[in-house]
């Protein structure tokens, strides 16, 4: 039987490693850096390897490392393993109940087939300014757990990204998971994005998360995608909102501030002025929704 082996998207060869512990994975990555790449879900790496933009000599597959996936309520908050599939996050009752904004963000990523493969850690470590997962996690004040040759450390996700496609991960370091602290879990959330159709990458996105008491904002975070080289928070807006009641005036003032606080490129997939107008509209929409949800629950 004739079979066409001239598949133009065939992968180049590489040396394959399938560590069975975090320690072993770190050792392999450290030893083969910078020629090694981490394979998690593969939905980004495999595409980049096919088009030749990434040509690793070594591929370290983390799928067989135990303890890197799962969603659990722990003492300090909700922990999500880096290898947890986006589809599992989308379907988790714990996430739906405690981190609704993350669920909203994750369920618009790619397709069911993609989400059955792609992992949260991959979505974070690819460090796309447009990635939906990290935007929601920033709004949830998430902490990133990193293990490397010199041990373990935990950093705020807001200091994890250093530029498009770049993170603070050093030689041999891997992201093992994230924790959403108790203080941020369980609030109201809203995720909004502009994208042409489903499956599209966001042109701009907003994740908002807030806790209210008697209609007054106790705590809130607004995180944005594709408005800067990395996902970013607009802390000026958060501070402005703290202690205020979400009435029409406060919401429109916050929106005005948000549209000034984002840092989009003037040109690109859409213009800076366009994104600033969307930022205004998104802030109004998100805060109005949050105020309505809080009103219903009073």
């Amino acid at each position: 039987m004739y079979v066409n082996r001239h598949n133009t998207h065939i992968l180049l060869g590489f040396e394959y490693h399938a560590p069975v512990s975090v320690t072993e994975a770190v050792k392999l990555l450290d030893e083969y850096s910078p020629d090694a790449k981490v394979l998690a879900g593969g939905t980004d790496l495999i595409v980049k390897m096919k088009d030749g933009s990434v040509r690793p000599k070594h591929v370290v597959n983390l799928k067989w490392v135990p303890g890197l996936s799962g969603i659990r309520e722990k003492r300090d908050g909700v922990w999500i393993g880096a290898l947890t599939k986006l589809r599992d996050i989308e379907r988790s009752e714990l996430v739906q109940k405690r981190l609704p904004v993350l669920r909203e963000a994750v369920r618009v990523i790619g397709s069911v087939q993609i989400r059955n493969l792609a992992t949260l850690g991959g979505n974070i470590c690819n460090a796309s300014p447009a990635a939906d997962g990290p935007v929601a996690l920033l709004a949830l004040d998430a902490k990133a757990h990193i293990v490397g040759p010199s041990g373990e450390k935990t950093v705020g996700l807001d200091s994890f990204f250093t530029g498009p496609g770049r993170t603070i991960l050093g030689q041999g370091e891997i992201l093992t998971g994230v924790t959403v602290p108790r203080s941020a879990a369980g609030g109201y959330g809203c995720f909004l994005r502009v994208a042409r159709v489903s499956m599209d990458i966001a042109t701009i996105s907003l994740a908002a998360s807030a806790k209210l008491k008697d209609g007054t904002v106790e705590d809130c975070r607004l995180a944005w995608g594709t408005v800067a080289p990395t996902p970013m928070r607009t802390r000026e807006v958060e501070e402005f909102l703290r202690g205020k009641k979400l009435d029409e005036k406060v919401i429109s003032d916050a929106a005005e501030l948000a549209s000034k606080s984002i840092q989009p490129r003037e040109r690109g997939r859409s213009s800076g002025p366009y994104k600033r107008r969307v930022a205004y509209g998104f802030t109004v929409e998100a805060l109005t929704k949050i105020a309505e949800s809080a009103g219903r629950n009073r």
């Binding site: 082996r5 595409v47 088009d51 069911v112 087939q113």
Partner: protein, 156 residues
């Protein structure tokens, strides 16, 4: 490397290179050419197969990652020469034109109906948004999924 995969219910052993994609293994080594190669970058869904029951894209999965797991392809649906209700529904509703996307659509439909036996039209369209059909315009595909759901319930 040797891997063991349960393909459409039958355990088989394959010798693969680490860079072998599951899609290439299925088409070239298993000779199961129902699973199609479309875009190769995860956008079209033509290569959809079930891995331990979950719809995934065979063009983005390394064959080694299917080791010790179950892979179901379009060829595994018919039983004893009788088409699966989903296949019958696609035929009866005119949901097939050129047919290239059909195996992917049918496997995604299988995954959908396995987890949600009575999906609404909105749920169907949302679930199948990773599969692209350039012929039908999707209307008859949605009808086929609804019809398949009814047929499978009848068999329940």
């Amino acid at each position: 490397m040797n891997i063991e995969i349960t393909v459409n219910g039958v355990k088989r052993v394959f010798e693969v290179e680490p860079q072998t994609l599951l899609l290439n293994l299925i088409r070239d080594e298993m000779d199961l050419t129902g699973t199609k190669y479309g875009c190769g970058i995860g956008e079209c869904g033509a290569c959809t197969v079930l891995l331990d029951g979950d719809a995934v894209l065979a063009c983005m999965v390394l064959a080694v990652d299917a080791d010790d797991r179950r892979v179901d392809t379009i060829e595994g649906l018919a039983e004893g020469g009788k088409l699966h209700p989903i296949q019958e529904a696609y035929l009866d509703e005119g949901a097939v034109q050129c047919g290239y996307c059909t195996p992917g659509f049918i496997m995604a439909t299988k995954a959908l109906l396995d987890e949600n036996p009575e999906p609404t039209e909105k749920e169907i369209r949302e679930y199948l948004n990773g599969n692209i059909c350039r012929c039908t315009g999707y209307v008859n595909i949605v009808k086929a999924v609804q019809s398949a759901a009814t047929r499978m319930k009848g068999q329940g």
